[in-house]
């Protein structure tokens, strides 16, 4: 992804269009290697989900609009494809799973029908072969008694099972990239770990890349190869997991890491980052983190620092980084 900038039409309080547009993403870029798991982290509203949805072009337009940038997938810019070619990508070359397994499945069709649909749309397989493949997929995502499960409706399944069904559906055509938008946020902790282990295991077996969107740094440390940290619609730091956790350079990343509870951290209050994320319409000219930043310089208010790549493929956008 290169320099992706997406704007939304502004609305005032009663919901009328104001005619002004605000950039929700501002020059977002990062790279996903084949077979890698990259974690995309940041607070709510920082643009993680918009970034994820932009890859498959699932944002409603209007009100959204891509202002500039490219999303290169195996050498093809997804943003330039026509609708038909884009549909061939969705669910086929690029799979996606969502945050809410309870509402992301259609309540009026059996889960078997819904998994089968992905195969019907993208493969020439016959009915019997597709059925075999569906059974195989359920086994792959660790669902027992697959024959019985296929005939069930989403409301008959638990949240964890539904998310496994979503994953089976996304994997039906063996995509090269899986976009997982907070796949475990709505699940309880033990199920979370199961689902993430499952994704990591499937990555190993199928060799696909995973973009894992999360706000849980613990998840990132455990499962990801690289991290992309976003703040107020921008990428502010990106690095392989180890250097980032060992030596965060952007004050925001450092603040995030400091606010994680630690087992050996002793008693007392957890440190927090004071202040609020500026909304897309009211972001300052300079670095959007300035008002909350302990390291802020006068320059930060007037000029946005560029994302500069240092050694270790460690890049950060800050005039006065943490040492």
């Amino acid at each position: 992804m290169e320099d992706l900038t997406v704007s939304f039409a502004g609305r005032d309080e009663p919901g009328r269009r104001t005619g002004q547009r605000a950039n929700v993403l501002e020059g977002v870029g990062f790279t996903l290697a084949i077979g890698a798991i990259v974690g995309l982290v940041g607070e709510s509203g920082c643009g993680k989900s918009v970034t994820a949805m932009s890859i498959l072009r699932l944002l409603p337009s209007p009100p959204s609009r891509v202002e500039r940038g490219r999303v290169l997938f195996e050498g093809v810019d997804l943003l330039t494809l026509d609708e038909g070619a884009m549909r061939d990508m969705r669910g086929n070359r690029v799979g996606m799973i969502f945050q809410e397994p309870m509402t992301s499945l259609n309540p009026t069709f059996t889960v078997g029908w819904q998994i089968d649909e992905a195969l019907r749309l993208h493969t020439p397989l016959g009915r019997k072969e597709r059925h075999q493949r569906c059974l195989e997929l359920l086994r792959l995502v660790g669902i027992g008694a697959p024959e019985r499960r296929l005939a069930q409706y989403p409301h008959e399944l638990s949240g964890g099972l539904r998310q496994r069904i979503m994953i089976a559906m996304a994997l039906a055509c063996e995509p090269r990239l899986l976009v997982a938008d907070e796949p475990t946020t709505a699940l309880d902790v033990t199920i979370q770990a199961q689902i993430l282990d499952l994704l990591a295991g499937i990555r190993e077996r199928l060799g696909m890349a995973i973009l894992l969107i999360t706000h849980d740094l613990g998840v990132v440390a455990e499962y990801c190869d690289e991290v992309v940290v976003m703040y107020a619609g921008r990428v502010i730091e990106t690095a392989p997991v180890r250097p980032l956790f060992a030596n965060p350079r952007h004050p925001y990343t450092a603040g995030l890491l400091a606010s994680m509870p630690k087992l050996d951290g002793g008693r007392g209050m957890l440190p927090t980052i004071p202040g609020m994320v500026p909304s897309p319409g009211s972001r300052p000219v300079g670095c959007p983190f300035t008002d909350r930043c302990p390291n802020a310089l006068p320059r930060c208010r007037t000029e946005m620092p560029p994302l500069e790549i240092g050694p270790d493929r460690h890049a950060f956008a800050c005039w006065n980084p943490v040492r």
Binding site: L56, R90, E100, T103, P107, T108, A118, L121, Y153
Partner: protein, 306 residues
Amino acid sequence: MAGYLLRRIIQALLILLGVTAITFILLYLLPADPARQIAGRSATAATVQSIRQQLGLDLPLWQQYLRYLGNLVQGDMGRSYIQRTEVASLVWSRLPATLLLMAGAIVCELVIGLGAGIIAAVRRGRPTDTAIMVASFLGVSAPQFVVGILLLYVFAVQLGWFPIGGYGTFAHLVLPSLTLGILGGGWYSRMTRSSMVDVLRQDYIRTARAKGATGGRIVLVHALRNAVLPLIAMIGLDVGIFMSGAVVVESVFGWPGIGQLTWQAIQQVDIPVIMGVTLTAALFIVLGNLLADLIAPLADPRIKLR
């Protein structure tokens, strides 16, 4: 399931019993004297009195009602005061025409309402949506006879595509069905639009898009299945409404249905016929609702009949 059906049938019988009681009391309270009406203006008081006795009209209300119920249980709905024929056979002879018009009207309503509602929902907020909503408002608020006469004038008189009135062939059915369909379609399109707009916002629609389904497939397969539920209940109600409520359309097109029979009976204070058609309409309303409730789980598997 069997228990559910049994309970619904008992409920239905109670409802019908209530309907007969209320109708009976209301008709008894009417200031008109059926005996006088049957005997005619020039009849003597003695003749009127004998007719009254013959029909049991001199008995107290509760005795009259029990007599009526007793006959009803044996399938006897009484005799028309005016036409001197069995009420059951009168209703029975009008039933085919009424059912045919009902079917035609429901088909038209669904085609017009679903089509317009889906298009409006997909084009929400755009000129097409506004145009459809204005049209549906006109459809809802236009009187039956205006729409009927307009269609009759354009398609029967001017263009000559359909007969002006009557009953017998498919061509006779088109205009009356369309009249009722345009009126009902207004309601259906509004309902379809609102439930469709709601469904199209759901997460599972996004999932379908992420899967690579085409726009048409998403709307007609993924969304429609979820949006039809309120419509099924409405069709159930329509079955009852068209049973007796198509009076105006039947008059405009000379359609020999139950609506016309009802109208005549009311004008002539033909109490047994009024009772008969009221009971029949109530029966169909109950049946229509039962049918709608039985069909609902097929559309939405989360609904369980208990």
